[in-house]
């Protein structure tokens, strides 16, 4: 494997990690506030569809992004309604949302575009362009560092950089602001928040809405950045991988970045090499496909350190007598 190939794989790692990262941080906000969300997949999917559909119709990727975020936040609010207002089972609500998105996207896509559940391919302003950072071209001749800068660091779309910025932002919000303090408290001990005179419901809805916003970004990037349009079930389990990354990261922002880059790398390798030949032993592509899931199970099995989730996660808050 030469340096250029390594760079290409790493470059695609960053791209593939971006939707995972948005979704993972989305889950982080929700679960830190005590609302478990296995509906990341569905929210990404619906945002991917509406982003692509609106971008295709208007030719504006920005309007697409807005539509994607709005649709994703709407599903978030359904999740909030079920799991916060009506104290329903958060897991079941998440499952329902995933199916709702899977069904609705194809249904509407067929109705609007009649192309068997996909949107038209996006062109021009309908997609995110790649940003060339200053001096990328000028420096590309510098050995090692030049190509590294020009190909790996420069040349991604706006959302990739936004995703990377979201990591420190999330950290800062959680650990340096009043909102973050309250958010973490409501995921650990909602009764403490309630008796302090703060609305548990309000905080959790805020968290769930942020989760929707970030899932919206994830889906939008998928359909209008990574690819040029929506196809049915295009999230293909990314929401679940993001969930796994969240567990791997033990609900912490910087670890989330690492976990998403790792899973992104796995996807990038699987994408580039079909069957990997290791001197007589062939690793089939199906194993590469399954590897993120297998790794997740290994992580969940706790062989890589114990992950302690927020204490009040999954439990609707009921005032005690």
């Amino acid at each position: 494997m030469d340096f250029a190939t390594v760079l290409q794989v790493l470059d695609s790692t960053v791209r593939l990690a971006t939707p995972l990262l948005f979704a993972c941080l989305a889950g982080l906000f929700s679960e830190r506030a005590g609302v478990i969300d296995i509906g990341l997949e569905g929210k990404m999917l619906i945002s991917a569809f509406f982003s692509a559909a609106v971008a295709a119709a208007t030719g504006s990727v920005w309007l697409g992004l807005l539509a994607g975020i709005v649709s994703s936040v709407m599903l978030s609010l359904v999740h909030g309604l079920a799991s916060i207002t009506f104290r329903g089972n958060q897991l079941i609500s998440g499952v329902a949302i995933n199916f709702l998105a899977a069904g609705l996207t194809v249904l509407i896509a067929q109705d609007w575009f009649g192309q068997g559940g996909r949107t038209p391919s996006l062109i021009g302003q309908g997609r995110w362009g790649n940003i060339t950072l200053p001096f990328a071209n000028a420096l590309s001749d510098v050995p090692v560092l030049g190509p590294l800068y020009a190909q790996l660091i420069s040349g991604h779309s706006l959302l990739v950089y936004l995703g990377l910025l979201t990591v420190p932002l999330t950290w800062w919000i959680l650990f340096r602001t009043r909102f973050g303090l309250r958010l973490r408290a409501v995921g650990e001990a909602p009764e403490a928040v309630d008796t302090a005179g703060i609305s548990v419901t309000g905080l959790r809805f805020a968290a769930v809405a942020i989760c929707g916003l970030l899932c919206g970004l994830a889906g939008s990037y998928l359909a209008t950045g990574l690819q040029a349009g929506f196809v049915r079930d295009m999230t293909a389990g990314r929401g679940y991988i993001a969930l796994a990354a969240l567990i791997f990261a033990k609900w912490r922002p910087w670890y989330a970045l690492m976990a998403c880059l790792l899973f992104g790398l796995l996807q990038a390798v699987a994408l580039r090499y079909q069957n990997i030949d290791l001197g007589g032993l062939t690793i089939p592509v199906q194993l590469m496909d399954a590897l993120p899931y297998i790794l997740t199970v290994v992580i969940l099995a706790g062989f890589v350190g114990k992950a302690i989730p927020p204490r009040a996660g999954g439990e609707p808050y009921v005032k005690e007598r």
Partner: protein, 363 residues
């Protein structure tokens, strides 16, 4: 909090939830420019007014009974098994191995062997998530989801690389030998003069599914194991106090759950396709969640809910055939049913309970 009478809890709440889901679905159909009444009529005609329609409806229902029971048994132990899909896939693999590689003199013997294999394979696929949940506290919802993806990859590998006959394009096994053909409803009930169930895939496995309902009812409400499974589901601390091993009970409940999901493979692989294809489960594992919620985890409820979803599936196929409404409408309805009967249960229950309380006070 105000309480509902048991009959209202068992019948009225799911019924209202279903009506809400139906109303929203009708709005969706309106939204894509079709007429919901016409659509419903078409579904009823296609699924219920012809014997062939029933043959399909019951075929789908058979799948959903197995997966619905699978989810129910796990629910009784307060385990959420989302892995029915993968367990059914692997169950189908067991059926294929038995049918393809062993010689069978008669379908009855083949059915028994295939059922056992399907249950064992399905149970085996549930074992690792069960064990990890029981021993290491790994969240079974996440692990079973992961195992669905892993099952799909494994099956893909086996079908493409090992089990596909030479020269065949699509990833599927060879056709099973004729001796393993299961009697369809047509075989059983049609006569020259009275051609019933023509061409429909409904088959003898339906009766196996009914037997599974009886089995689950006895298991959950009449045996020591069922007593322990329910006890653990209600309170793990109490189960420990009583000397019920949570580890053992979780694993056993999940093995039974996985076995039931695996049995679905008999219906799809042996009863319908007569070979194992990729994607034979068609999401039935997930519909089991809706069926179990709707049926309140009781075999009778699961049976009725499975028939309902069988109708929706067959009706949905008719819609896709004759109108512009894609089959994904059924996924939407399924999502709404899960949402209303599972997650938004209290939205229906609380106002209803108030209504009942007011009624009582008025009297």
């Amino acid at each position: 909090m105000d309480k509902l009478p048991p009959w209202a809890d068992a019948v009225l709440v799911p019924l209202i939830s279903l009506l809400l889901a139906a109303a929203l679905s009708a709005l969706v159909i309106l939204g894509i420019g079709e007429n919901p009444v016409d659509a419903f009529t078409l579904m009823v005609e296609g699924a219920l007014l012809r014997s062939a329609g029933w043959g399909y409806t019951l075929y789908y229902a058979t799948n959903f009974i197995f997966t619905g029971l699978a989810v129910s048994v796990a629910f009784h132990a307060r385990l959420f098994n989302i892995g029915g899909e993968g367990q059914a896939m692997i169950g189908g693999l067991g059926v294929a191995l038995v049918c393809l590689y062993l010689p069978w003199p008669h379908w009855t013997l083949a059915l028994v062997a295939a059922s056992i294999a399907a249950a064992i394979f399905g149970a085996a696929w549930a074992f690792i998530p069960a064990y990890l949940q029981a021993k290491r506290g790994s969240h079974i919802v996440i692990t079973t989801i992961m195992f669905n993806f892993i099952a799909a990859a494994l099956l893909n590998y086996l079908l493409v690389n090992l089990m596909k006959p030479a020269g065949q394009q699509d990833p599927a096994t060879a056709i099973f030998p004729a001796a393993t053909h299961l009697p369809t409803f047509q075989d059983m009930f049609a006569a020259e003069a009275n051609p019933l169930f023509r061409g429909a895939p409904g088959n003898v496995t339906f009766f196996l599914a009914i037997a599974a309902c009886v089995f689950v009812w006895l298991l959950i409400w009449r045996t020591r194991l069922g007593y322990e499974i329910r006890a653990l589901g209600h309170s793990e601390s109490a189960a420990r106090y009583a000397g019920i091993s949570p580890v053992k009970t979780i694993v056993v409940a999940m093995l039974i759950s996985g076995g039931l999901a695996g049995l679905m493979g008999v219906n799809t692989a042996m009863g319908e396709a007569e070979r194992l294809v990729m994607n034979s489960t068609e999401g039935a594992g997930f519909i089991g969640i809706a069926v179990a919620l709707m049926g309140r985890n009781h075999p009778v409820g699961v049976f009725l809910a499975a028939i309902l979803f069988g109708f929706l599936y067959q009706g949905g196929a008719e819609l896709a055939l004759w109108t512009n409404i894609p089959r994904e409408l059924i996924v939407v309805i399924q999502a709404l049913v899960i949402l209303f009967t599972g997650a938004l249960d209290n939205m229906v229950r609380i106002p209803l309970a108030r209504l009942f309380a007011r009624g009582r006070r008025a009297r």
